[in-house]
């Protein structure tokens, strides 16, 4: 009877374990029907196990039969709940509605019957235990149970058969295998028919419930082959490790005593210690060998990916890098699709940067406030489509629904984020494997390593690009400085040549004008006219050349350094003085719209004068160009200057004219050196340096900003933002 006590203790343990599973699954999602039915089923398992344990503890026949009948309070609900669960997990509840109801009706009918003598009576005792003997109603119940079992197995098999490849099929496999295991529980009914088997049947219902519970609750299921291998290797290895010393003790005790004497128990003790130490290694070794075989394909590409990710940091061209990653992914993992989305700061969006092997057109951009990005940002780990889909079936979440929709749009099975520090640089999108196999946890781990390396590589490439840009800029600046020094010396010389040329040409023209052409033949007159034209062109070209040189001079000249507190009036007044030589200010509507109460601007007077000068000069040119081009009758040129403070401690100064405006395609190039739109007339010939210099003055010397807004035939608006200051803060 010690044997039975031991059995009942293990049964108690099992019953509590099952109850724990029931509660866990129920709390995981109390509103889900599947979870409720599963928990109820587990509860019948609990009753079954718990009262069986009580039965084995009972002493007299009466109480044994009493507890055995209690067991059946749970058992009678097993067929109906099991069948219902099968229908639910295969999502065919409606189809089998009648059967489910019938099942419950039968369970309810047998609920009281199970407590009568017509169900169980008398006791059958055998070597390993006892059981009440089955009576006619028990036969009926078992037959019905059998029908429902067959039905249940059929449903679960159908579910497996119809499942789509991937995680869903994997889950279906779990259910199917668990169900086959469950069938072994039927051994438990044998003693009722006087067949004395060792009572191990209940163990299988525990296994069943554990597997199904795992498959239901866990969104990322282990590949079932791996799970099965690990479990069987574990059981095999530890049966030997733990079993061997027992066998040794039980069977060879006398032999050992004879041989070793009183200290015989050292032998099993030592063997136990040795085996327990070696055990885990054996387990890991065997496991690894088997898994290597099972996952040979996966191991192969995981190695390739690891190697590739190490080499990635050597690539300095971002686009090349993206293309390479996508290429490696699709080729080695054998995906139907892979893409990279990379954050674009200007657009504040994640833009499709590279994709591979995709006939459908995926989404080309993802807004940075979309649910998917938020989820990535929050979780900072890979998002699996199947998981999102399953979670959406279980929980109602608008965010997750959005994520699912976005992932469908992206054709994504996996989305792997790339972070540097806390910034989401971009993400990899992976489609399905061509083999339709699921992504394992190991896959996902490798992909996170890959994405980590990708992030590093991206940062590296960005840094390299930046350095390259800086280098180009430095080179450009050096070139400019050289031009500057050269210009200073040379431009005087060149300017003098132009000056001489224009004077000579003009004087010659003048002389021609004074000549008397009477009596000269028509032919000669024509010739002289040609000369006059030629001299005129020489003069004009010389003057234009001089203008270009003066532009260069202006650029190369370095003014007084240091910043001081200036009022806008102060700058503008002194600029107008200069401008008067060139611009007829009185012919324009020249409006100062800003308030006199504005704070001071922190700036360099000479430099800002040049900025203002150029902007007014440009505005004036634009106005004249419009006059020449459009010839509108009631047009009058207007230049208005406005200013106001900004919350970030800057003053914004706006120069607005109603001149010709700049065409869209030219707007971006406005600030590049030697780009000019002013080519139409001599007077307004440009050097292409004005705005370049302005941008440098505002951006580099003043830490300010400059923008342009323009519409063709509408006018142009230059917006300058300069830091403001109090008078006392002025510094040299």
């Amino acid at each position: 009877m010690d044997n039975l006590k031991f059995l009942s203790i293990s049964l108690f343990c099992e019953s509590f374990f099952v109850a724990a599973i029931a509660l866990f699954v129920l709390f995981k999602n109390p509103r889900s029907r599947v979870n409720i039915v599963f928990s109820s089923y587990s509860f019948t398992g609990f009753i079954f196990l718990f009262f069986t344990a009580m039965m084995f503890l009972a002493k007299d026949e009466y109480s044994i039969i009493f507890w055995d009948r209690m067991v059946y309070l749970g058992v009678v609900f097993m067929p109906s709940l099991m069948f219902h669960l099968g229908a639910l997990i295969s999502k065919r509840e409606k189809e089998y509605k009648i059967w489910i109801i019938l099942g419950y009706v039968i369970s309810i009918i047998f609920f009281p019957i199970s407590q009568t003598d017509y169900f169980l009576k008398d006791l059958f005792r055998y070597k390993w235990g006892f059981h009440a003997v089955a009576q006619p109603f028990h036969h009926i119940f078992i037959s019905i149970f059998l029908v429902f079992i067959i039905g249940y197995l059929y449903i679960v098999y159908q579910n497996y058969h119809n499942s789509s490849p991937g995680q869903e099929r994997n889950q279906a496999k779990y259910y199917l295998i668990a169900s086959v295991v469950l069938m072994l529980t039927s051994m438990q009914f044998m003693p009722a028919y006087k067949i004395g088997v060792y009572p191990v049947g209940f163990f299988f219902i525990v296994v069943y419930l554990a597997i199904v519970g795992y498959a239901m609750v866990k969104y990322r299921l282990m590949d079932i082959r791996i799970a099965a291998t690990r479990t069987s290797v574990f059981i095999a290895v530890y049966t030997i490790i733990l079993g061997f010393p027992f066998v040794l003790t039980a069977s060879y005790r006398d032999f050992l005593i004879n041989r070793v004497g009183i200290n015989w128990f050292y032998i099993p003790l030592i063997s136990m210690a040795v085996l327990a130490t070696v055990g885990p290694f054996i387990y890991i070794y065997i496991n690894k060998r088997i898994e290597d075989r099972l996952l040979r394909e996966q191991r192969r590409y995981q190695d390739t990916l690891k190697q590739a990710s190490l080499g990635m940091t050597r690539i300095r061209d971002l686009n090349k890098l993206f293309k390479l990653i996508v290429h490696i992914l699709t080729r080695t993992v054998r995906l139907n699709y892979a893409a990279i989305y990379f954050y674009n700061e200007k657009a504040d969006k994640y833009m499709l940067s590279a994709l591979r092997d995709h006939e459908l057109s995926g989404t080309s951009e993802i807004a940075s406030n979309s649910a998917l990005i938020e989820l990535l940002d929050h979780k900072k780990e890979t998002i699996v489509y199947e998981e999102v889909k399953r979670k959406n079936q279980d929980i109602i979440s608008l965010q997750l629904k959005d994520v699912e929709k976005t992932m469908v749009g992206l054709c994504a099975s996996l989305v792997v984020p790339c972070f540097t520090r806390d910034k989401l640089l971009g993400f990899l999108v992976m489609g399905e494997k061509l083999s339709k196999q699921i992504y394992t946890q190991e896959d996902i781990n490798i992909f996170s390593v890959l994405s980590h390396q990708t992030a590093l590589a991206i940062e590296n490439a960005l840094f390299y690009q930046e350095v390259k840009e800086t280098q180009t800029q430095l080179f450009q600046a050096e070139k400019m400085a050289t031009i500057g020094t050269m210009a200073d010396g040379l431009s005087h010389q060149i300017n003098n040549r132009f000056n001489a040329m224009s004077i000579i040409a003009e004087d010659s023209l003048d002389t021609m004008g004074m000549m008397n052409f009477d009596g000269i033949s028509e032919e000669n007159k024509k010739l002289i006219e040609e000369f006059r034209h030629a001299f005129d062109r020489i003069k004009n070209n010389a003057l234009q050349g001089g203008e270009v040189v003066r532009g260069l001079l202006k650029y190369s000249r370095t003014g007084k350094t240091g910043l001081e507190a200036l009022t806008i009036d102060q700058i503008l007044d002194s600029t107008i003085e200069m401008v008067r030589y060139k611009v007829k200010v009185d012919e324009l509507n020249f409006l100062r719209l800003y308030s006199k109460e504005l704070p001071f601007v922190l700036g360099n007077l000479t430099q800002l004068q040049e900025v203002f000068f150029n902007l007014i000069d440009n505005a004036n040119d634009a106005i004249h160009e419009r006059m020449e081009k459009a010839a509108e009758i009631d047009y009058r040129g207007t230049i208005q200057i406005n200013a106001h403070t900004l919350p970030d401690g800057f003053i914004r100064i706006i120069f607005e004219d109603n001149g010709l405006g700049v065409k869209k395609e030219d707007q971006e190039k406005l600030f590049t050196p030697f780009f000019t739109t002013k080519v139409s007339s001599r007077q307004r010939q440009g050097t292409g340096l004005g705005l370049y210099v302005i941008k440098k003055i505002i951006g580099q010397y003043h830490n300010g900003r400059i923008f342009v807004e323009s519409g063709f035939m509408k006018g142009t608006k230059f917006i300058i933002e300069l830091p403001q200051t109090k008078k006392t803060e002025a510094k040299e």
Partner: protein
């Protein structure tokens, strides 16, 4: 006949300027450097001096200073390829009547010249 003194180290410029003014009945003399200009101002006694700034030896500003010191009434127009605003300011404070940027247009120069000579 009104008289002007043309000061420039470019002989071509001087020659053709002189030619231009001659046709307009304006007598002119030429100085090719600063020192010469100072001397000639006192001997030639021009009504107006056209003065280049960048020259070897005495530059235009120095000449201006010197001449103005001796003849505060002297009418002087500066001619220069130099763009600097400071230079313009300096010339103005020293008493130059105008500041014309090179390359210049004779027609415009002569307008200014005839205006100033007429004021005599």
């Amino acid at each position: 006949m009104p008289k002007i003194l043309i000061v420039d180290d470019e002989t071509d410029v001087c020659e053709f300027m002189q030619n231009y003014f001659k046709k307009r009945n304006i007598e002119s003399a030429i100085a090719n450097n600063g020192g010469q200009a100072v001397v000639m101002f006192s001997t030639f006694k021009p009504d107006l001096m056209l003065l280049d700034i960048k020259m070897n030896g005495l530059n235009g500003i120095q000449v201006l200073e010197q001449v103005k010191k001796d003849n505060p009434e002297a009418k002087i127009i500066m001619l220069s390829g130099e763009e600097s605003q400071e230079l313009v300011e300096k010339a103005k404070t020293l008493g130059a009547l105008d500041f014309i940027h090179k390359p210049l247009e004779l027609s415009e120069l002569s307008k200014v010249v005839s205006l100033l000579i007429a004021k005599k």
